[in-house]
């Protein structure tokens, strides 16, 4: 019941956002809040940049928060002045805007301000603190100059290099482990090369998560015994023919399913406690082989979005527990494979308890 109500809220939220962006209502301004790894616009009554900024500082509504919208602007942040000169808006904040030490949060905050301030005619926004030019403060974004939406959408630096799968000397023991993991769907078949390394570790973690063992990535006695007795996992929800995926939040794995048989089990990290991935039924809405997260200013290679800014994507750091901003992180060994497996429209089921 609760799950169904939540799902209804999310669907309503998505529909509302869709309608709102399709029909620019009169006397409405756009305000930007992160949802997953991207900024998403919501409508607020008003006509001026001041109206938009006031609404931004107030934050998302309770309903929007339930649907995964959030803000990185500290409570109590105030503007000292807002000035418009030609196509540039200058927003002067009090010192509260620099509160906090988390780099991603600080950057997301700045992108929210720039996107929201440039919605009503202005094309660039200059951010001041206590009337002064900003030096540092937002790690990785030079805010001493006026910023545009385009500048924040432009990726900084080349895409990260994939992790090396394993360069060790091949051993028979590793081959046997890899073969067993591949037979059960925890490694791709072409990963059986006998070389120990991060790719094999990722497969072991996927198995440990599925089997609810300790997630240390080491094939010790308990893991080996469980592997010997294991059978290929089955989907936890019923579904139609063709391809679909399940994200199991409790086990932190993705099941890639074809004609109701599990093709792969993938080690993933979903949204952290403060930014959880909302359970529900979705479908892939768009695929971007090279996606750039505007709020967090990082690359998201092989991103398949399924609701708002929430996507399956590759990330250099995939902890064994939920750690993301709502998205589903995977290692470079699996992200490309899942990206190719998914099409726009592929059903995605996010399951809280499996």
């Amino acid at each position: 019941m609760i799950a169904r109500r939540l799902r209804a809220v999310i669907v309503c939220g998505a529909l509302f956002a869709l309608l709102a962006s399709a029909v620019p209502a009169t006397a409405a301004v756009q305000v930007f809040f992160p949802r997953g790894e991207q900024l998403v616009a919501v409508q607020r009554p008003g006509t001026t940049v001041e109206d938009a900024l006031r609404a931004l500082l107030r934050g998302p509504t309770a309903q929007e928060r339930r649907a995964g919208f959030r803000t990185y602007i500290p409570r109590g942040t105030a503007t000292r002045s807002v000035r418009i000169s030609g196509s540039r808006v200058t927003v002067d904040f009090g010192p509260k805007i620099m509160q906090g030490l988390n780099a991603e949060g600080l950057n997301a905050r700045l992108t929210q301000v720039v996107f929201t301030a440039t919605g009503t005619g202005a094309t660039s926004a200059r951010v001041l603190i206590n009337g002064g030019t900003v030096l540092g403060v937002f790690p990785g974004i030079d805010a001493s100059v006026p910023l545009t939406r385009a500048s924040l959408r432009t990726p900084k630096g080349p895409t990260p290099l994939p992790t090396a799968p394993g360069t060790g000397v091949p051993t028979a023991e590793t081959t046997a482990l890899q073969q067993r993991l591949a037979d059960l769907g925890f490694l791709p078949a072409d990963a059986v090369d006998g070389r120990p390394g991060p790719r094999t570790t990722t497969g072991v973690i996927a198995f440990q998560k599925w089997a609810r063992l300790g997630r240390d990535g080491v094939a010790g006695p308990a893991t080996q015994a469980a592997l010997a007795a294991a059978t290929r996992p089955a989907p936890v929800t019923a579904g139609g023919p063709g391809r679909r995926v399940e994200l199991l939040l409790d086990r932190q794995v993705v099941l890639a399913i074809e004609n109701n048989a599990v093709v792969r089990v993938i080690h993933a990290s979903s949204g952290a406690a403060a930014t959880p991935t909302p359970p529900g039924s979705y479908a892939v809405t768009r695929k971007e082989a090279r996606s750039w997260s505007v709020p967090f200013q990082v690359w998201l290679p092989y991103a398949a979005y399924f609701v708002g800014g929430i996507a399956f994507h590759e990330y250099s750091d995939v902890p064994v527990s939920p750690a993301s901003h709502g998205c589903v992180r995977q290692t470079s060994f699996d992200a490309r494979w899942l990206f190719d497996f998914l099409s726009v429209g592929t059903p995605v089921r996010v399951v809280a308890a499996s």
Partner: protein
């Protein structure tokens, strides 16, 4: 500074002022005020906002350090921004009492300015761009890379004297341009103070390449004074007291969280 922190600082200052008042007032340019020059931004050490030379918002290791020194001296810290790193180190009178800008105390610099006792020891770090494919493990490996350092810094000296690269070096005057060059790949590697670099990387790990390692220089950061400034003695005693009571260690833990001790050493 938040109003609450300002109040706390004031309260501490009032307490510390009791013993200080018994001795003579510290010889600052403006009585009751310690004017501290900064060279912003430096991630972890000093970031904020400026209007010309006036610092209107600031936070970081060296901001807290300056406030702690001022409290010990029974005065209040006020900050001014010095956009050119080189002018902190030039000879002559200064419009400030002391400068905090991760300045390494060297004999060459001592000919023009005076230094306090060290408040932090640091080596030079080498951070690679995400676009750099080379994985240098020795100083000789660095020679073929396009290296960047801040003009006039220890890193720039180290490149010229120890690394001797075969490719022209880029030496921007500001750290903003330096980090931008590294993020864009124009700099294949940056040589800069290791604590600042590791902090930068830990903040946005996916923006930069791996840390190649540190080059042992055994430098010490000291506060900079105009030659012969009589404030040096009282400031030295304040820094020594802050080391002894654990304040310096706490500042490092708060602002410079990094994996510094685990980095490889380039030889």
């Amino acid at each position: 500074m938040s109003p609450r922190r300002a109040l706390a600082a004031l309260a501490l200052a009032a307490l510390a002022a009791l013993p200080a008042a018994a001795s003579a007032a510290p010889p600052t340019i403006e009585p009751g005020t310690l004017t501290v020059a900064l060279n912003m931004p430096s991630d972890g050490f000093q970031v904020g906002a400026v209007r010309g030379r006036e610092v209107v918002a600031a936070r970081g290791y060296e901001i807290d350090l300056a406030n702690a020194i001022a409290t010990r001296l029974g005065v209040e810290a006020e900050f001014v921004h010095e956009p050119r790193f080189g002018s902190l180190l030039s000879a002559g009178a200064k419009p400030w009492d002391l400068a905090l800008a991760q300045v390494s105390a060297t004999d060459a610099r001592r000919t023009a300015v005076d230094f306090s006792v060290p408040y932090l020891t640091a080596d030079q770090g080498v951070l690679l761009s995400i676009a750099t494919t080379a994985r240098p493990t020795t100083i000789a490996d660095l020679r073929g890379l396009r290296l960047c350092a801040q003009k006039g810094s220890t890193g720039a000296d180290l490149i010229a004297t120890t690394i001797a690269p075969t490719v022209p070096v880029l030496l921007p005057a500001s750290t903003v341009v330096l980090t931008r060059g590294l993020a864009s790949g124009r700099c294949e590697a940056v040589v800069f103070d290791a604590p600042g670099l590791t902090h930068l990387r830990s903040q946005v790990p996916t923006r930069y390449g791996p840390f190649a390692g540190v080059i042992r220089t055994g430098e010490s950061y000291g506060a900079v004074f105009a030659k012969g400034n009589r404030l040096r003695g009282p400031v030295n005693r304040a820094i020594a007291a802050l080391r002894k009571d654990g304040t310096l260690k706490a500042l490092s833990a708060r602002w410079l969280t990094s994996d510094l001790p685990r980095l490889p050493v380039l030889r």
